[in-house]
Subunit: 138 residues, 3 copies
């Protein structure tokens, strides 16, 4: 049984999803863990992680639009230290979550055919985001 | 320290929750892991996993009704390749999440008395769903 | 490779967030696991776990207000055995989730600077809540 860990750094371009499936798969391959489980933690409170459809860019657009409707800018928030997009970003991160755990078999994540792993940026401006990766297995 | 893994297949009957606590418990028992952690990944983008009350069927009905209100059909989505229930299903899956990690002790998941593990089907029609299960421990 | 586990007990004061980062960090330190992964499971269906900003109490207030708007009391629910706050509490727990998995390195959780781990109480009255903790690593 062995472990490996790293910090993945991703530049975002403002609100939207960035697929990181390939980067995670490369980490899994480098670890030489054939069977085990990989854990991801987005180290921020205004960006998050989710698994959703990897085929249609329209899904990503609809998701971002829906999050804006669920946690709108312009609502009355106490917390607006960093601007009008600040508190909605925290809400969207709380809704989608900042961590994922994915089983690995045959050296590959057991994602479904249409599943991709995405970093969701919820702030209005581009950011540099860090995701802690950890794998354990054999 | 040892591991075990399998794919659990569940037939759903359209929108609603299917309790899978017993199936996961059987996998834990078969693995002979007494102390460890079990990871579940729903391999789909229009079905998801959640832990909620196992006692009252009304909780499940209210949950499904609420998800329909939060992510309604009939809203204007770009993505409708597979019908009006397609994009709402992706949203509901993003909201509830597709993975769970549950500590195991004494050969049993450390769920609370009223907690059940559920597969949530978000598409209008029945589907055959796959859940990747992984356990590690002693 | 080794494991450790415990049950953390937290008294809540009604609706709101209780930070438990220190309690989890103490469990990690006591386990003498320097590198690994820690798993948390809230053993309830009307309280949940989330990672959000640890600096501003206004973020916590806004989050609670927003959850009340998303899953309001007073909506028509089938399930109200334990009162008007019962079903909204289940919905809020389903939305935010009851489990977290956090990588550990150098004996410390790899949380971001502004991230705290919180227990979210969704019932109107104070409750005694249990969180199952598990760590595996070296």
């Amino acid at each position: 049984m062995k472990q490996d860990a790293t910090i993945l750094r991703i530049e975002t371009a403002g609100p939207g999803l960035t697929e990181i499936t390939r980067e995670i798969a490369e980490f899994v391959a480098r670890s030489h863990v054939v069977r085990g489980v990989v854990t991801l933690l987005c180290r921020h409170t205004s960006a998050s992680l989710l698994i959703t459809e990897n085929a249609s860019i329209a899904v990503q657009r609809d998701l971002v639009t829906w999050l804006e409707r669920i946690a709108p800018q312009g609502a009355a928030y106490d917390h607006d230290d960093e601007g009008a997009d600040d508190m909605p970003a925290h809400l969207k991160a709380a809704l989608t979550g900042v961590n994922l755990t994915i089983p690995v078999s045959g050296g590959t994540m057991l994602l479904g055919t249409w599943q991709g792993v995405f970093l969701a940026e919820h702030r209005a401006r581009p950011h540099r985001r860090e995701i802690a990766l950890h794998i354990i297995g054999e």
